[in-house]
Symmetry: C2
Subunit: 203 residues, 2 copies
């Protein structure tokens, strides 16, 4: 089960199943707690994967106290509240609209473009949104890499979450991800994936 | 090195290194070919990870014949041409602006909203762009899961690529990813990542 095959960097079947082929979105969660150390480890993995010009616009708020969860859950779509309420932790993924402030540290080669990004909020928003979503994809797989279940949810009141949690900051929420161990009947039958011939072409 | 720890779904250190902590963007590629079967396997992994309402907007064109590569490389930013030219395969990741046509098959619960998506191209574009970028993140990690190196590049002439490869279709290019085995001096020193305290908060 756990021997590496073909190439030392090639993931074996068990690891591929954990991330991709055998993983499902969890809809219920067990009481088993998730520690702050585990939550920190998620980011310790996800942060190494690549972003456009290394600008790393994603930000993460881990909501896990009863008080903070009680502020967040009512801002989710009706259909998302029950499963979020049962999750021991809920990550609010956000994009920092001022991600370009870090350019001198993370992307010195971009310093000549920093002023342009400051003056072009629409272009900046597009860059932040794209790399932020790439990083959200890495984040979801990093949750799974740690043996935890992820439940991403796009249906929530973004303006409400921003006002409640990010007032006075440049963070803007984009996705909410339940995190925990699967509970009873956590997994629904998998929805169909598009056939390869509708998605993949060769040239 | 390869024993699973703590949980059967928990990735070991070697697998985490292959995906996250030890992986780097490759800037040169070896002559070692990448087969169409390997390219197909990338999608076979990536397609299982979650998208908003299961709508799966990402599309993939694998460019690997000399003729097709000669059409693509001039459309990349100057600084991206040499590395792309050395890659045995280049994936053009695109979003299908008509992803909602698949709703009856992949997301029957969305049928009542299909007409609304047809009539609201801006909202549809935002959904497609977000889930397409999530899927691009999964795609990059799936390349790595197969023991291959990925080199994502945002700098290219999108309109030019769409005209050259996607004329008459609803595919719109969003990211180009070099794929292959690392060549000589493939890896530059890693650029810094933001410190945890700038990214992660707890509530």
């Amino acid at each position: 089960m756990t021997t590496l095959t073909q190439d030392p960097r090639h993931l074996d079947e068990a690891a591929r199943a954990a991330l991709f082929t055998g993983a499902h979105t969890a809809n219920t969660f067990a009481d088993t707690p998730v520690t702050d150390e585990q939550l920190t480890q998620i980011w310790e993995l996800a942060r190494w994967a690549p972003t456009g010009a290394n600008l790393q616009p994603l930000r993460v708020l881990f909501v896990r106290t009863p008080e903070a969860r009680a502020r967040l859950v009512p801002l989710l779509a009706d259909t998302n509240r029950d499963r979020a309420a049962s999750a021991p932790a809920i990550a609010v993924l956000a994009v920092d609209d001022r991600f370009h402030d870090a350019i001198p540290t993370v992307a010195p080669f971009m310093v000549p473009r920093q002023g342009w990004l400051e003056e072009n909020p629409a272009a900046r928003g597009e860059m932040g949104s794209y790399s932020g979503a790439l990083q959200a994809g890495y984040f979801i797989l990093a949750v799974r890499a740690l043996g935890l279940a992820a439940g991403p949810m796009a249906g929530f009141d973004k303006a409400g979450v921003d006002a409640e949690f990010f007032a006075g900051t440049s963070w803007r929420s984009s996705l909410v991800v339940n995190i925990g161990h699967p509970g009873p009947d956590a997994f629904r039958p998998r929805l169909p994936r598009l056939p390869h011939e509708d998605v993949v072409r060769f040239a």
